[in-house]
Amino acid sequence: MLPKKFDENEIFTLAALAGLILALYLLPKAVSWKAGLANGLFFTAMACFADEVLSAMHPLNLYNTFDSPDLELFDFIIYIPVFTLYGYLFITVQRLSWARIRSVRHVLFYLLIWIAFTSLMEMMAVKFRVFHYLEGWDNLHSLVAYCVLFPIFYTYANWILKIDASD
């Protein structure tokens, strides 16, 4: 379960975690912990589902993570704190910019920023060997996947914010 070698991929994960904690510390507390966690855990669950379908095993083993195809400690660190905080950040930013997102064009532009930023982060993660693309997967495939996923995230976060407001 422990990493074979503590190197660039583990350092990148810890740096991303520190960056997310800092971002959430600096941003105003716009959502309740329940809404933040509900969205964060949704991001984590989607990542687990995607890894289960695309990465975990035959017939589709399109990418691996960290040092081996097995699950290791840093897989758990990237799932629970990193992806959960990324989801927390997503709903916080969405709540903060709620008043400004008024039209479909605004929503598309907002989603485009998130998709571009997430793709950029993934490209960096690939460079730092957090993800190892195998045959049949590349950054373009990830970009397409994010184009499908982020509208779902946006709709889900809106739903969570509505539930939270009615609580």
Binding site: M1, W33, A38, A45, C48, E52, A56, L71, D167
Partner: protein, 161 residues
């Protein structure tokens, strides 16, 4: 039959837990996602790290397996509901024991249909699966209640000021 069982069990569990999600939407949602995360990763540890469990990788088994992964958290959420309805520790223990029997039956069907196929079947998988998810569920529930209470106390204190 492989797909039919997963579909029927999923529909039944979704119907039973519908009221639960309506009554406590946020709590149920949080615990569901929390359990899903642990269930999927526990199965993956058994499969990828320990090489105990292995599915057949045909599309039907694969879809069925995904449905089962969505269903298991619902099963545990229903148990938690019954657990909280039980007033005394005796009833709570009985709820846990009954749930263990239900869960064992459910896994036995999964094994019989070979949705959950293992190299050398052993009941220790059921025990490990059951107690891991049970612990995860109760820890999640306790954390939720603790955080909720803490925020409530904080809110009352702010209102007084």
């Amino acid at each position: 039959m492989v797909l039919l069982f997963s579909l029927l069990a999923g529909a039944g569990l979704a119907y039973l837990s519908r009221a639960l999600f309506e009554a406590e939407k946020m709590k149920s949602l949080l615990l569901y996602l929390w359990l899903y995360y642990w269930t999927i990763n526990f199965l993956r540890i058994l499969e990828m790290n320990l090489h105990f469990v292995h599915d057949h990788h045909t599309p039907i088994f694969y879809i069925s397996r995904q449905l089962v992964l969505f269903e298991v958290p619902l099963l545990f959420l229903l148990y938690l509901h019954v657990f909280h309805l039980s007033r005394t520790s005796g009833w709570k223990t009985l709820a846990a024991v009954c749930f263990f029997l239900v869960f064992t039956g459910y896994v036995a069907i999964l094994h019989f249909l070979q949705i959950l196929y293992t190299y050398g079947w052993s009941w220790r998988y059921v025990l490990a699966f059951f107690f891991t998810d049970l612990a995860v569920l109760h820890v999640g529930d306790a954390l939720y209640r603790w955080l909720d209470r803490k925020k409530e106390v904080h809110r009352h204190a702010s209102e007084k000021i």
